[in-house]
């Protein structure tokens, strides 16, 4: 029979209580950091971005001058060696800002016997791996409402530090959704969580963030148990962040209804995303994290038009 449980306090990711202190966190974090870096490394070798000419620092190519271009672009040094006139093109380099938000609410502290990892672990790994990947691609990465976007090599450690810092605050309550502050145009948001909140709340958050045209990606983390509902018999279900409970005599009779409702909920979330041009993906914790990261990267790249170009170099 499938077994599912909530993570204990000391088991859940970067969330640390005052009493437990940083030691417990430090025990857990390095593994997350390493895992995140490993996942990122795998993905960097997995897909090669197309290189393009654009605004940037490094030399890309010389091309013949086209009539009508500003003459300031002519590279005279090169043109002097020939009868033709050349323009020096640089590789397209644009530092974008990506905001990554990871859900650390109680409902994420959930793992079943079918899953490889708790949802919160998976979300943290995924988020940090994406951050690492993006920073190495030259982007700036931040956490909305917590950490400003920076492009530093130790972005994973910075993420962890900030989250521990936040978790140590007395009045810290992990939020189910990111703060709906409006993001700047041409920035991207990556939201990783289980998104079990009301679709209306999600819509409000997403619309708020995208008010100025920011693009975004929702990754819905789900435990296999949450998708398949493999329960039967006399069961009492407990909610994780409220005191609600449901006692059923025959759990299997709820399966069909639950699955249809879950599908409906996901459709609603997907519709919210689509209305703003955001992408939506579902990731199950029994699948490898790199799979989700790869998909995420492809989408970020497509969205940003070569955002991750040069990340291989």
């Amino acid at each position: 029979m499938v077994d599912a449980r909530l993570l204990d306090e000391d088991e859940s990711g970067v969330q640390a209580s005052h009493s437990q202190g940083a030691l417990d966190i430090a025990r857990r974090l390095p593994s997350l950091v390493v895992a995140a870096k490993q996942v990122a490394a795998t993905v960097m070798h997995g897909v090669h971005g197309r290189r393009r000419a654009g605004v940037g620092e490094t030399f890309w190519q010389f091309r013949p001058f086209v009539w009508g271009e500003p003459t300031t672009r002519i590279d005279w040094r090169r043109s002097a060696r020939d009868d033709r006139v050349y323009v020096r093109e640089r590789e397209w380099e644009a530092a974008h800002t990506v905001w990554i938000w990871m859900d650390r609410s109680p409902s994420m502290n959930y793992v079943s016997s079918l899953a490889a990892q708790a949802k919160v672990d998976r979300a943290l790994v995924l988020g940090m791996a994406a951050a690492d990947l993006l920073v190495r691609g030259g982007e700036r990465v931040g956490i909305p409402g917590l950490m400003r976007a920076v492009a530093t090599r130790n972005i994973v450690d910075r993420f962890a530090e900030n989250m521990i810092e936040e978790a140590r605050r007395k009045a810290y309550v992990p939020a189910e959704l990111p703060p709906g502050d409006t993001l700047a145009a041409r920035t991207q948001a990556v939201l990783i969580g289980d998104f079990l909140s009301e679709p209306a709340e999600i819509e409000r958050t997403v619309h708020g963030m995208a008010a100025r045209g920011a693009q975004g990606h929702l990754v819905m983390i789900a435990d296999p148990v949450e998708e398949t509902f493999p329960f039967s018999g006399h069961t009492e279900f407990l909610d994780v962040d409220s005191s609600a409970r449901l006692r059923v005599g025959e759990a299997q009779s709820f399966k069909a209804e639950y699955i249809s409702r879950l599908a409906k909920h996901r459709d609603a979330v997907r519709a919210v995303c689509a209305s703003r041009g955001w992408t939506f993906a579902i990731h199950r914790t029994d699948r490898p994290a790199s799979e989700a990261l790869l998909a995420l990267r492809m989408r970020i790249e497509a969205e940003g038009g070569g955002l991750l170009q040069g990340s291989v170099a």
Binding site: R5, D223, G233, T235, E236, D239, V240, L246, L262
Partner: protein, 963 residues
């Protein structure tokens, strides 16, 4: 209750069992705790109403557990008792308890006593008087006494180790019943027919009259018994008896020696029969130690069998001096002795071909050693044999041609060289008969059969004391069997052979009886006094009594004899009784065993059919209160139920979560993996060692080589002598002689290959002190007088080689220097010294009709470099009456020795082109050819034996077959 010995002290409580169905219904509608499962997306379905909310049912096994729990509590409350005491109704008159106390009663003795106890105590409570009569008391009067004293007397009673006759007690019971006509009788029977149980029962009924109550408590467990132990040649057999009614199906027998130490154990099993056999298959020495055999866990005198010296088997070793020839057993002197001893002794013969058979035989510690025509006992064997006799062994010797030719210390009387032949062609006597045995002889009482005749014997020198040493004599008074004490032991000499060549005594039954008496003395000679034994046997029938030493009690335990035990005559053969309880009698050195059962006894169950008796079984056990057990059961069920409830409610999952399961399983995996590596790795390592590359193996060989080289005979080289039949010569150390031997045997081998069916391998030089001689049929030994004599050990090897059927050809090469009448040549003296330690048979010059002259060529004599020397060979038996019909004579075996002086090898010797190497005297080609022919004949004689002498009859045989 329900046929079970089960009762309840409060049976009404059992009515509560009717409430179980109600409990079942209640349990059915009370579901177990649901599983608790945290579920984050619960909000999605929180508003759903359960479609069907019937609670899950309690699992059937949990229900069953709870019902069993309730039932156990109800049963415990009802006060269950196993084996409840029967309720007896009160009578009027006194109670008489008749108690069987023979050995069969020992099996359930405490039960019997407690049953009698209960009867007396119950009577006392009811205000009745009680009395106890034991069957073994016989006609003693039965008297009342107060219950306390009666019970005390009961406690002191013990079963008797024998079977008392119940009828003896009937008179006293009749008298008692006449005085108390209203008495109730309780007979606690042992259930065995022996001791006239049916007659006793009829007598009881008759004495009690019509209105009296005769109750019989019959044994519920019938005894097993042992009888008739028999020490057969291979094992000690014991009969195990049971009554037809049943009893144990299988069990264990244990054997103990006189000190009570266990010697062996064996199993027995009944298969439907009332009797089975158990065998102790032990070495004879251990079996002779057995003094007591008993059935394990069967504590009665009948389950014990005592064994004394009558059951012992003695070990007798037989050594024969004659050449071993297993293909003709009837000619072997040991054959008749072995057959005659086999019924009452363990006869052993040393392995054929052993170097020193006498020593080997003595190493087996026999009680008696038989030497059949062994002429000389020399070397280490001599000391051993002396020690053996000093320590009490019996040496039994038989005469023969070898003994007649030599003397040593181990004869009871001085012997004349040669002996005498009676009834032969040169003697005027007829074969002699045996004289009747003297009174002093241990053979006294045996009938000297008229059919026995002696044709040849060795003679004792007349000397003082000869009649005292004579156990048997011929009709003319010459000693036939003589014996003498030496140390604690005894030397007995039969003045005839152990086979039939000198007399027909070994064919008679008398021979067996004589050997039996001698063997019996071998056991006692070790302990008995020095010179009385011979006469003690003759006076066996005087009435001597022996006092009891250790006797059995009713439970089969050996202890001090009771004061009532009386001595038994020494030839007592009955079973134990009140006067003579079973046990050991007499001094420790010569114990006489008296057993509870005679060897032919059978056990029969008592038959009370058709008798007006109130039969009851002896209650097997005390009542057992089962209440604590039921309560304990209920408690365990309660614990199990609690655990099951917790498990069903998911309470155990919390426990499991916290166990470091992964670490444990990883550790287990690691251990398993390590084990697998160990297991798969080890054989690989071995394989590597086995398949070493040749180079390293070569090194290995080299390292071990020196030791092997030292062991291998230097002259045998790399050719193993067993691979082909080949001739051999003894390396004398004189290079010239050895060269001649090698060349001569080489030429002879070539001649054999060319002329006969035999293709011998290349001849080989051997050193008799080192090399194994057994591979060679013929060894040629040129005598060189200047060489040192071989050691005694070497001589023993040579002697052994000859006994095993090999032939030694000694060549003194002194035909030219040796003249009749002169002093012997140095070579002859050297040879005589060599042969002094060897059993050499009687020799003669090769007669013209000896088969050796006919085996391939027809020869007159054997010539070599010289022609004048004579060739000696083992003497043939005397010629038969009709020599004309037999052109060739042969003994029954090949002569182990040929002595020549003609220097055969030098005459044979030729180089590889066939050119002779040595000149001959007088020296013709004819002489050389005759020398080769003589060699061929010798080899063929060695290989074919007396075949040729039978071959001359082939024409007659064919004619006979044609008819």
């Amino acid at each position: 209750m329900l046929g079970l010995p089960l009762a309840f002290s409060a049976p009404l409580v059992l009515g509560a069992l009717a409430l179980l169905p109600v409990l079942w219904y209640l349990l059915r509608i009370t579901p177990p705790r649901p599983r608790m499962i945290a579920f984050p997306p619960l909000k999605l379905i929180l508003d759903l109403q359960p479609k069907e909310d019937t609670p899950a049912r309690t699992p059937w096994w949990l229900m069953l557990l709870r019902l069993a729990l309730a039932a156990a509590i109800v049963l415990a409350m009802a006060g269950p008792v196993w084996n409840p005491k029967p309720v007896t109704e009160a009578g009027k008159g006194p109670v008489l308890v008749v108690l069987d106390d023979g050995w069969p009663a020992a099996v359930q003795w405490s039960l019997r006593i407690s049953a009698a106890n209960d009867a007396i105590a119950t009577a006392a409570r009811q205000g009745r008087t009680g009395a106890v009569a034991a069957v073994s008391d016989g006609a003693r009067d039965i008297a009342f006494s107060d219950p306390v004293k009666t019970i005390e007397r009961l406690r002191a009673m013990k079963p008797m180790p024998y079977m008392p006759n119940r009828m003896a007690a009937l008179g006293a019971i009749k008298k008692f019943l006449a005085a108390n006509p209203q008495a109730d009788i309780l007979w606690i029977s042992d259930g065995i027919a022996a001791g006239d149980s049916r007659g006793f029962a009829e007598g009881l009924i008759a004495a009690a009259g019509n209105d009296a109550n005769v109750r019989v408590l019959n044994a519920s467990q019938l005894p097993l018994a042992l009888a008739g132990a028999e020490n057969s040649p291979s094992a000690l057999d014991v009969r195990v008896l049971r009554t037809a009614a049943g009893g144990a199906v299988q069990g264990t027998l244990r054997a103990y020696d006189l000190k009570g130490l266990p010697v062996g154990e064996t199993h027995f099993a009944f298969s439907g029969d009332t009797e089975t056999k158990a065998r102790f298959e032990l070495p004879i020495e251990l079996r002779n130690e057995i003094a007591r055999v008993e059935i394990d866990a069967e504590h009665s005198a009948g389950a014990v069998t005592l064994l004394d010296s009558r059951w012992k088997r003695r070990r007798v070793d037989v050594v024969s001096g004659v050449t071993a020839d297993v293909s003709q057993p009837l000619l072997s002197p040991s054959y008749y002795v072995t057959k005659a001893l086999a019924p009452f002794a363990d006869v052993r013969e040393p392995r054929v071909g052993i170097r020193d058979p006498v020593s080997a035989a003595l190493d087996e510690h026999p009680a008696m050693l038989v030497l059949a025509d062994v002429g000389v006992v020399a070397g280490a064997a001599q000391d051993k044999l002396k020690q053996f006799i000093e320590d009490g062994g019996v040496l039994l010797r038989f005469a023969g041609s070898r003994l007649a030719a030599s003397t040593d210390d181990f004869v009871p009387v001085r012997l004349r060289r040669g002996g005498r032949v009676l009834g032969g062609s040169l003697s005027w006597d007829t074969p002699r008969r045996l004289a009747p045995f003297e009174r002093e002889s241990p053979f006294y009482g045996l009938a000297a059969s008229e059919e026995i005749s002696v044709t040849r014997q060795v003679l004792a020198e007349p000397e003082a004391g000869l009649p005292g040493k004579t156990w048997a004599a011929l009709a003319d008074g010459t000693p036939m069997v003589t014996a003498v004490r030496r140390g604690k032991g005894l030397i007995v000499l039969f003045h005839v052979t152990a086979d039939t060549t000198w007399s027909n005594l070994p064919l008679s039954g008398l021979f067996v009886d004589m050997l039996r008496r001698i063997t019996a003395m071998s056991g006692e000679s070790a302990t008995g006094d020095t010179n009385a034994t011979a006469s003690a046997e003759g006076q066996a029938n005087r009435t001597e009594t022996v006092a009891p030493t250790r006797t059995l009690d009713g439970f089969g335990v050996l202890g001090d004899p009771p004061v009532t035990a009386k001595p038994i005559p020494i030839d007592h053969s009955g079973v134990g009784s009140a006067d003579h309880p079973p046990g050991f009698y007499g001094p420790v050195t010569a114990l006489v065993a008296v057993n509870t059962l005679s060897p032919q006894d059978k056990l029969e169950a008592a038959n009370f059919q058709g008798l007006r008796l109130d039969m009851q079984a002896l209650r097997p056990a005390e009542p057992i209160d089962l209440r604590p057990w039921f309560i304990c059961l209920a408690f365990i069920a309660l614990l199990a139920d609690a655990l099951a409830s917790i498990w069903l409610g998911g309470g155990l999952r919390g426990l499991r979560k916290r166990t470091p399961g992964r670490a444990v399983s990883a550790a287990i995996l690691a251990v398993l993996a390590f084990g697998a590596v160990e297991m798969t790795g080890a054989p690989r390592a071995h394989a590597q060692m086995q398949f070493d590359p040749p180079s390293s193996r070569g090194q290995f060989d080299l390292r071990n080589m020196p030791g092997q080289r030292q062991q291998a005979p230097a002259t045998l080289g790399n050719v193993h002598p067993a691979l082909a039949t080949r001739l051999a010569y003894v390396i004398t150390g004189d290079a010239k002689i050895d060269e001649a031997s090698q060349a001569g045997l080489m030429t002879l081998s070539r001649a054999l290959a060319a002329r006969t069916a035999l293709t011998p391998g290349d001849p080989m030089g051997v050193d008799p002190s080192k090399d194994e001689l057994v591979f060679f049929p013929l060894i040629y030994w040129p005598i060189v007088a200047s060489r040192p004599q071989p050691s005694a050990d070497t001589v023993a090897r040579i002697s052994n080689f000859m006994k095993q059927g090999g032939m030694m050809v000694f060549d003194t090469r002194d035909a030219m220097t040796n003249r009749p009448g002169d002093a012997p040549t140095p070579e002859t003296q050297w040879l005589r010294r060599l042969l002094a330690g060897v059993d050499v048979p009687e020799l003669e010059v090769v007669p013209r009709d000896h088969v050796v002259t006919k085996t391939f060529y027809l020869l007159d004599n054997f010539v070599g470099r010289t022609t004048v020397g004579q060739t000696w060979i083992e003497a043939l038996p005397p010629a038969t009456e009709d020599p004309a019909q037999r052109p060739a004579r042969a003994s029954d075996s090949v002569s182990p020795i040929v002595i020549t002086s003609n220097d055969l090898a030098a005459a044979w010797a030729a180089d590889s082109r066939g050119q002779p190497l040595y000149p001959l005297i007088p020296g013709t080609n004819r002489q050389r050819e005759m020398a080769i022919r003589g060699g061929v004949n010798l080899v063929m004689y060695t290989l074919t034996g007396n075949y040729k002498s039978d071959q001359v009859h082939v024409r007659d045989l064919l004619e006979r077959l044609g008819h």
